[in-house]
């Protein structure tokens, strides 16, 4: 187990470092530099000001020097200053990260509950019509654009019916509605994968044995089928961290919420490079961390993983 954890941890750090390096290189490929872009939004800046500011931020140094000094700062926990707000990147992100965490984690939990509930309903129902109807819901959720659903719900609930605010006012609805919008979208791939793998499990002989032994359909579903089918769905759930952030950008704009999504939007729009770098780093870390957790949970779900972990990705087994 120790070796397995160490390997996953090492891979996680490698991914973060690669993401950081890629962003650093991508920034160098931009046709302009961050300082000039930043200053040009405030009417005309003279060359002396541009140069002074470049020196201040270290953008006048050779590329390798910039790379290593930024990496060094990073290791000391300093992610630099946001050009557009003058605040440190950590302060800027820290001020709104909580809001996104609340939205994304609630949406994630809601999405998991929704996916499991849908699959349970599809598997346990006796009506064929209902089963087909439920099976078709996840593709529908995936197809409905997040912004459209958000706009329609706000138009209906806030403007027509007046039961919720257009702004995040701390009320239950002002969190629940955006969470629902995001959860529907995120639940779609989870439900689809879970449904597919559970159908596969139901074809296994041990299910027939359980039935013959008189186990109830619910017992079979919750105690046996779900556990055996959970692997692939968990992999998808890990990958949804990216979807969650992308969905947050849209949800936060539509619902006028503060959060990482709106900061990403602003940072990219004004090409606030240090802020973009900080956000990429944070996203990569979150992505890697969640997937690390999934990887570490896998052996608990399926002990066979550890025995063959030397042979590569554990997920290959369940795919």
């Amino acid at each position: 187990m120790g070796l397995y954890v160490a390997r996953r941890l090492g891979q996680a750090l490698l991914v973060i470092w690669l993401a950081y390096t890629l962003v650093f290189l991508a920034v160098q490929l931009l046709p302009s530099d961050p300082v000039t872009i930043f200053l040009s939004t405030d009417a005309a800046a003279d060359q002396a000001t541009v140069d002074a500011m470049k020196a201040q931020y270290g953008y006048d140094q050779p590329l390798l020097v910039q790379y290593f000094s930024q990496l060094g700062q990073l290791l000391r926990g300093d992610v630099g200053y946001s050009l557009a707000s003058g605040q440190s990147v950590a302060t800027r992100i820290g001020a709104v990260a909580g809001s996104t965490l609340a939205l994304a984690s609630s949406a994630f939990v809601a999405a998991v509950v929704l996916a499991v509930a849908l699959v349970a309903a599809a598997v346990l129902t006796r009506s064929n019509l209902l089963k087909r109807l439920i099976t078709n819901l996840p593709p529908l959720f995936a197809a409905v654009p997040v912004f459209w659903l958000g706009l329609v719900l706000l138009q209906l609930l806030s403007i027509q019916l007046g039961v919720m605010s257009l702004f995040p006012d701390g009320s239950f609805a002002s969190l629940a509605v955006p969470v629902l919008v995001l959860a529907l979208y995120v639940s779609a791939p989870m439900a689809q994968v879970l449904l597919k793998s559970i159908t596969h499990v139901y074809e296994q002989p041990f299910i027939d044995v359980l039935r013959a032994k008189g186990a109830s359909p619910a017992w079979i579903f919750y105690r046996h089928a779900l556990k055996n089918a959970a692997g692939p769905a968990m992999t998808i759930a890990g990958i949804t961290v990216g979807t969650l952030l992308a969905g947050s950008v849209i949800t936060e704009t539509v619902f006028a919420r503060s959060g990482l999504g709106s900061v990403v939007l602003q940072a990219v729009t004004v090409q606030d490079v240090p802020l973009v770098q900080g956000l990429v780093l944070l996203t990569a870390s979150a992505f890697v961390a969640v997937n690390l957790i999934v990887d570490l949970l896998y052996p608990l779900l399926d002990p066979r993983i550890l025995k063959s972990s030397a042979a590569g990705s554990p997920r290959a087994l369940t795919a």
């Binding site: 302009s32 003058g86 709104v96 706000l154 138009q155 806030s158 995040p168």
Partner: protein, 554 residues
């Protein structure tokens, strides 16, 4: 300064607004009537509240377009900043649009030397910043230094409208004398800009992050910062001791409102609804399509004229040579059917541009006759310049097609559809327009790219047209035209208002007609939506004046 023209303007504005107000009143009355079953009491009460004395107290909710987190004063050239800072910071002078001239504010008196290089401001006594520091001559001098020279320790640039600033000194205890390195007839006007807002000397000592944070900026304005939620709202609370409004302001004392809450509503489709449902009292950035609905539902559509700004324009970059010939630019200028712009994508709240300056700006000259739509003339000008139609109808010269690109921010709700229409109009004369308007990501690099031929924009002109079109790095033309710059310098050095007017008129003619470096579209206006209870006026820079605003109690 000749004020005849501008003096007529407010009444024009009033008549424009009145039908809406009347409509609002009628619907309110109708509602009241139906509610009280025939009693006219409700309607009468509504009327008296509307026309009667301002109501004290209350919280006013204002929805801005996008969140902003850099409130550093010198860079307040965005509405999102200026609309908040206008209530937090006072200025030395105030531009009274009704009179068409500058009036005293924190400077109870101001004078200029004849050669426009020395200016004296007498500072009003008894004014304090919200942190308790007195706003005296020394504080003003510190602010002027920051505006004119920037603040090196905080990496803050000088204000572009103060480029001629040399030094200032306190004289006689309550006066500040400013010396410029070269004449600038626009200097006084520049002191009325929100970007020249006066902050506490303590604020000036903060680092860049501190001076950018609304929570730490201390001004002498009618409101002071109370609280904020990053990217969601800023709450301002009134200063009960405020007693130094600009001369002639309807409210000379503290604000009527207790609080102003600034929220953000990036989604344009919800702005009218936010007002209709009473969730906000005022919203900026109403779409033309929503204006009739909002007015029809008993609410108000309030067009705030951008007298302090240029008209909306496609500023021309001549860097890649396609538009180097003035004839081509003139052809494009005449190839725009402005009336159809107004009829299809704008509304009655918009006035078509007659020059690069707003119709009600001092020294405006009406050039609309020379801008009249004339596609035949456009075609012959393009022929003269050697651009002949190719097989696909697009003109070409030396193997190069007359294909041009426009960039703009997405801050204006009408700029993208406007350029879509211009794209069709220019097709008629054999010019292809690539419409990248309202694409902010493209703008970030296109703003400085001379190969992007047009920049759709409007700019504050507190310092005159010189700072907007003069410097080599100016974002409009990305080019320093020697002839134009000589004209700008002469205008700044004008020693009489008659001479100044004449030179500003020459500048407008050069930019719009002779050189056609600015294809002007419509006068800058910000269309606000307000609910029936709200009473609010706007500055000549389109900022809401919350100090004089109030709400009917019911």
């Amino acid at each position: 300064m000749d004020t005849n023209e501008t003096r007529t303007s407010p009444s024009r504005a009033a008549t424009k607004r009145r039908p809406l107000a009347v409509l609002a009143l009628l619907s309110a009355a109708a509602l009241a009537l139906s509610a009280c079953g025939g009693s006219t009491g409700g309607a009468a009460a509504g009327q008296s509240a509307r026309d009667g004395a301002p109501v004290q107290g209350g919280t006013f909710v204002f929805a801005e377009v996008t969140p902003i987190n850099n409130f550093q004063t010198q860079a307040a050239r965005f509405y999102e900043k200026a609309n908040v800072l206008n209530s937090v910071l006072d200025r030395l002078t105030y531009f009274d649009a009704e009179k068409g001239q500058l009036v005293p504010w924190i400077a109870s008196k101001f004078t200029a030397s004849e050669d426009q290089t020395k200016f004296t401001f007498t500072i009003r006594p008894g004014v304090t910043f919200s942190d308790g520091t007195p706003l005296d001559a020394a504080a003003v001098q510190a602010n002027l230094d920051a505006l004119g020279k920037g603040i090196e320790s905080a990496k803050i640039q000088p204000n572009v409208d103060f480029s001629a600033y040399k030094s200032s000194q306190v004289i006689g205890g309550d006066q500040v004398e400013v010396t410029l390195s070269s004449p600038d007839a626009n200097f006084l006007r520049a002191t009325s800009s929100v970007t020249a807002g006066l902050v506490s000397p303590k604020t000036l000592t903060l680092d860049n992050a501190g001076q950018s944070a609304i929570a730490k900026i201390s001004g002498s304005g009618p409101f002071a910062f109370e609280s904020e939620k990053a990217d969601e709202e800023v709450v301002l609370a009134k200063r009960a001791d405020y007693a130094w409004a600009p001369e002639g302001a309807p409210n000379q004392g503290a604000a009527y409102l207790d609080k102003v809450v600034v929220k953000y509503l990036p989604e344009v489709a919800h702005r009218a609804g936010a007002v209709q449902t009473g969730q906000v009292d005022l919203v900026r950035g109403l779409q033309p399509a929503d204006e009739t609905t909002l007015a029809g539902s008993g609410n108000q559509v309030l067009p705030a004229k951008g007298i302090d700004l240029t008209s909306n324009m496609a500023a021309v970059r001549i860097g890649n040579g396609k538009l180097a010939d003035a004839k081509v630019r003139q052809a494009l200028q005449l190839g725009i059917d402005r009336q159809s712009l107004k009829d299809t994508v704008l509304s009655d709240s918009y006035e078509l541009a007659g020059s690069i300056l707003n119709r009600e700006a001092p020294d405006f000259v009406d050039l609309s006759a020379e801008l009249a739509y004339n596609p035949d003339k456009s075609k012959s000008l393009l022929e003269e310049a050697g651009w002949v139609p190719g097989a696909d109808g697009i003109r070409a010269k030396d193997g190069q097609k007359l294909e041009v690109t426009v960039t703009s921010s997405n801050n204006s709700v009408v700029i993208k559809p406007a350029f879509e229409l211009i794209e069709q109009q220019w097709r008629e004369i054999g010019v292809k327009l690539v419409n990248r308007a309202a694409d902010n990501t493209f703008l970030a690099t296109a703003m400085k790219d001379p190969n992007v031929e047009f920049f759709g924009t409007r700019q504050f002109v507190y310092g005159g047209l010189g700072p907007v079109f003069g410097p080599a790095t100016n974002t409009q033309t990305l080019n320093a035209d020697q002839q134009l710059n000589a004209l700008f310098a002469a205008e700044r050095a004008a020693t009489s208002s008659a001479k100044h007017k004449e030179l500003v008129s020459d500048e407008q003619r050069a930019l719009v007609v002779d050189q056609a470096l600015a294809l002007v579209l419509w006068d800058e206006v910000q269309v606000y939506g307000a609910n029936a209870k709200a009473h609010v006026d706007f500055t000549s820079g389109t900022a809401p004046i919350f100090q004089g605003a109030w709400k009917n109690s019911k």
